[in-house]
Structures are given as structure tokens and as C-alpha cells.
Symmetry: C2
Subunit: 310 residues, 2 copies
């Protein structure tokens, strides 16, 4: 009898579903629903249950063929327990118990934070997954996930891997976390746009500052625009400082760079690497940096592969 797993990526706007064969991890079907806007503590889980039943039906799969469901959530989570999730209005919620109301109770449920799950999925999608990996996700927020000995590092309360909030410079402006000097304040999308405006006061640029996008900044940097290049250089410098810190702490096998900003591609990785060579201590200088590969499917792939780990 063929076996399957589901990967579910719960976000503030959408919930993504992936049905995969197991253990081959071939994607059979994807689906997407809007995140329910009310009664989040029940509606999200009943929706997940319904979509899984309907995907089973569509693919002529019995529930007994499902090995488990992996779930990525957009907040810190520890052993399936969420203290607080502002995006989804969850508080003190046990995801295992909530999910079990809508799925057979013998079904394996694996839960972790979305960036941790993406880290896990990215590492698993490599030809030979590494024991220890650090994953950065650069987007509106900057986050990440740390894999140690093949396992997601959740830490004491689930804050493990929140590397967007590493203190990397002396700052005074408040970050989304309430403090200042965070990596997110250099590498997050709003920081990138803001810094572009700042540099444009000092240097000439061909960028249209009235309808600026992060994509423009990277495109113009590739084309030699001074302001755009200065912005990318600053991102590379602070990413390198952050990576050098994690290198002397964890000495990981690899750094993986993902998230929307990573679509910039080689120019981003090359700039980080250039600065990393200056900042790397001891023999951590040759830790490789690669771009994430699974893109928008990182959540469902990671969540589905995490089922077989837990």
C-alpha cells in the first residue's frame, strides 16, 4: 500500500498544502486556501482537516495511507505549544490537541516554526543533507532556522533560529522586536528601501525613488548604480558579521540564504561571501554559502519531510 505525507504551511494570509509520496517525497498535489479571519483557534484546524480529506478523496487515498502531517506555523513554537502568535491570534495553544480534533488521533503530527521548517526542508533537499546548517530567510522580516545534528533547534521557548534579531550594530531606531541594532534592520525589505533613500541623499542614482522596490535595487546594482551597490554592500557586510558570529559559535557545515530578498541571486551571495572572508575567524572562512532552492514551496516541503524525522 502506497504511503503519503502532508506538508501544511500556515501563514497569516494563506494556508498552503502539499501532498507527497513517502518516502520518495514526490509532490502529488498542491493546494492553497485563505487563512480564516475569525475563530482562529478552531477554524484554521477544521479547515486543515477538511482540505486534507478533500485532497485524499481527489487522489483516491485512504486516511490510513497517510503517515503524518507536518505543520509550519508563523511564530515561535516549542513541542507543539504556542505561547502567542500575533499573526493568527493564537494564545497558549496546543497545536497537537487542536489538530487532533479534526484528524484521526493516531496520525503523526509534526509542528515547528515556519523558518525552522524551511531550514529543515532546504537542508533535506540538498543531495546530501548536512548535520549542521544555518538558514537565513530575508524578507519583510528576517528570520532563520538552525539545524544541529539533523534536528531543528527550537531551544527553550522556541526562539531558536530567530537570527534576524541578532544584535549586529549600535542602533537607536526600534526594530519590529522592540529593540535595536538587529540584522533585520539592515537586511529586511523596509530597511533596504530606507537605506536606498538615505544613500541617494549623498550619491547619484538612476533609481526611481518614488516607486522603489527591492527588486529594482538589486537590478540596478547589477547594472552598476552607485546607490544600489552601496545598499547591497551594506547588506553583505552585516550578513557576513552575523554569519561570522554563528560560525565561531556553531561552526556549521553550510549557510543557506532564502526568503524573497534572496531572489537577487548571485550578486547577494557574492557580496556576502566577499565580506565574510574578512570577518571569518579561525578556519571558518571556507564554510560555503548557497542560495535556497525550494522557493515558495519551502514550507510544505520542509513540513512534509519533518514528519518522518519526528
Amino acid at each position: 500500500m502506497k504511503k503519503y505525507v502532508y506538508g501544511v504551511d500556515i501563514g497569516g494570509t494563506n494556508i498552503k498544502f502539499g501532498l507527497f509520496s513517502s518516502p520518495e517525497m514526490e509532490l502529488i498535489q498542491k493546494a492553497e486556501s485563505s487563512t480564516p479571519l475569525s475563530n482562529h483557534e478552531t477554524s484554521i484546524f477544521s479547515l486543515v482537516g477538511e482540505v486534507i480529506e478533500s485532497m485524499n478523496k481527489k487522489n483516491c487515498i485512504e486516511m490510513s495511507q497517510i503517515e503524518g502531517v507536518g505543520i509550519a506555523v508563523p511564530c515561535p513554537v516549542k513541542n507543539g505549544y504556542v505561547e502567542k502568535c500575533p499573526n493568527l491570534k493564537w494564545e497558549k495553544l496546543d497545536i497537537y490537541a487542536s489538530m487532533n480534533k479534526y484528524l484521526p488521533s493516531n496520525l503523526k503530527i509534526a509542528v515547528s516554526n515556519d523558518a525552522n521548517i524551511a531550514a529543515y526542508g532546504e537542508n533535506q533537499s540538498l543531495e546530501i543533507p548536512h548535520n549542521n546548517a544555518v538558514f537565513y530567510t530575508l524578507g519583510t522580516g528576517v528570520g532563520g532556522g538552525i539545524i544541529i545534528d539533523g534536528e531543528i533547534l527550537e531551544g527553550r521557548t522556541g526562539a531558536g533560529g530567530e537570527i534576524g534579531h541578532m544584535h549586529v550594530f549600535e542602533g537607536t531606531e526600534p526594530c519590529s522586536c522592540g529593540l535595536s541594532g538587529c540584522l533585520e534592520q539592515v537586511c529586511g525589505t523596509s530597511a533596504i528601501l530606507k537605506q536606498t533613500i538615505e544613500f541617494s541623499k549623498e550619491y547619484p542614482t538612476r533609481l526611481d525613488l518614488n516607486k522603489l522596490t527591492v527588486k529594482d535595487v538589486f537590478d540596478y546594482a547589477k547594472d552598476g548604480d552607485i546607490v544600489a551597490m552601496k545598499v547591497i554592500d551594506r547588506i553583505g557586510e552585516y550578513m557576513a558579521i552575523s554569519a561570522s558570529i554563528l560560525a565561531v559559535s556553531l561552526d556549521p557545515d553550510i549557510f543557506i540564504i532564502g526568503g524573497g530578498v534572496s531572489k537577487a541571486g548571485d550578486i547577494l551571495i557574492d557580496t556576502i561571501k566577499k565580506h565574510y572572508k574578512k570577518h571569518a575567524r579561525f578556519n571558518t572562512g571556507d564554510i560555503p554559502f548557497i542560495l535556497a532552492r525550494t522557493g515558495n514551496d519551502a514550507g510544505i516541503i520542509g513540513a512534509a519531510s519533518y514528519v518522518n524525522k519526528k
Copy 2:
């Protein structure tokens, strides 16, 4: 038949030995020898073999009663392999193979870096050892060890836990590692003495700057000396920044502060905690800080307890 383990702490000056009952881990006998000054690649291991044989004899113990030997070395080491150890003039050395020439080959040998071993020992010596712990050792050098899921985190090349070389400020003066801005350049003993001199140019002090010791600085700080207090405050601030970074990365259960400088006691921990409250992100603010307890025996205790882990 009673069982025993040895903990051996190899330093650049001395080699310390501890014989412990197993699994109770009661210290039976301690010994210390000077580190041989020549032929380090063989002489150190033959000495370790000799001392263990003589300690066995003295305590009427047969080699068959020894469960294993844990060894702490003063350099990065990965799976028992040392790429380079300047202190001991070792290069590309397999410690398992070297040790097996002088001890029965069926004897379990466990090897790790001395700060990692101290981290392991400190955590094991707690009433209930934690899953995840970060240990700082503040001395001439600043180092540390990271325990994840009860295991020493060596990382890719053994540089895991080298947290004295986290970049925590913008600096230009070179650190012992060759780069600058390292935690060691604030919290190491020479940095402490240097900073005392610096502050004394601006503020009044009762410290005798001609025969200054780190102990004086802490003693006078307890007594309200302005320069001494400023120095301690600066250590506390940068230790707190470093801990806040590790907190959002690893979210450990505890921070343990050891090494010679930690003899300063409560004034050090209290100053770190005061600053940590300002720098801690999310709900990492309540991670406890404690002083290391095993003191000079951290190496032998850690090495001996590590035998039963490996």
C-alpha cells in the same frame, strides 16, 4: 567489580588527572604533571599512560576496571583529530590513535576541546543537567562551550563554542585571533587591565595602576571605585550583547560563566544580568545566568563525565 573513569586535562603548562568512581563520579584521586617540553606528539601520550598506570597501582585498580579516559585538549578538535595546536606543537594529530599506543586499545577514549569539556562538566554537575547550555570561560583568553541536546557542539572543524571571538563591537586593534571586535577584547584579562588604564585617564581611581591585577579591579569595584566600576560595567554590557545574540540563535536553558575572571562572583553576574535585561529579545529575558562551580577541576570532571556520554 567496581568501575572507574579517568578525566585528563592537557594544558600548555600542566596535565591534570582525576580518577573517579563510575557511575557515581566520586573523585578518588587527583594528580598533576608538568607538560613535557619536547616530542609533544608522543611524550604527552606516554606520560598520560604512565600516570594512569601508576594511579591504578596506587589505588589497587586493574586496567580492566577502567571504563574509559576522557581527555580535554587546549585547541579545536573534531572527532579526536587536531588540525593544529600551537600550545602543544601538535599538527594533524589523531588523538585516539596516539593514545592507543600507551593504553589498552579496547579502552574507551573521549576527546574534546577543554572549554567544551568544561561546559559539559559544569552542566553535568548541576542537580538536573540542562539539554541546552552555553558556557563562557573568561580568562587570559575568552572561550566557551555549547551543549545542545546534551551533546558538546564541536561543529564542522571543532570551532564550535569559540564564543570569545564573536564580533560584538567595531574595533580596529587586532585580537589574538587576528581579527578585531571580539568579545575577548573586552572580557579577557589583558583587555580588563588595559581598559582600567584607559578609564583612569578620565576618572579618579584608588587603584594602584603600577601593580594592577584583575582581582584588584573587581575588589575595588565592590568598594565603589569609579574606574573599576566602569570597567565591570563594560564587561557586563558586552557579555550581555553576546548572550542576547546566542539567545535568539540557540535559546539555551542556561548561561554558565566560568574561568578565572568569574571568581569576581556576584558583582560580575549581577552586572551581566542588568545589561542582559536591556538586550534580550522576545521571551529570552528570563534565561538564567549562574557562576561555574567546579573551578580548577572543571577539566578533569568534564573529561571524566564525557566518557560515559560518548
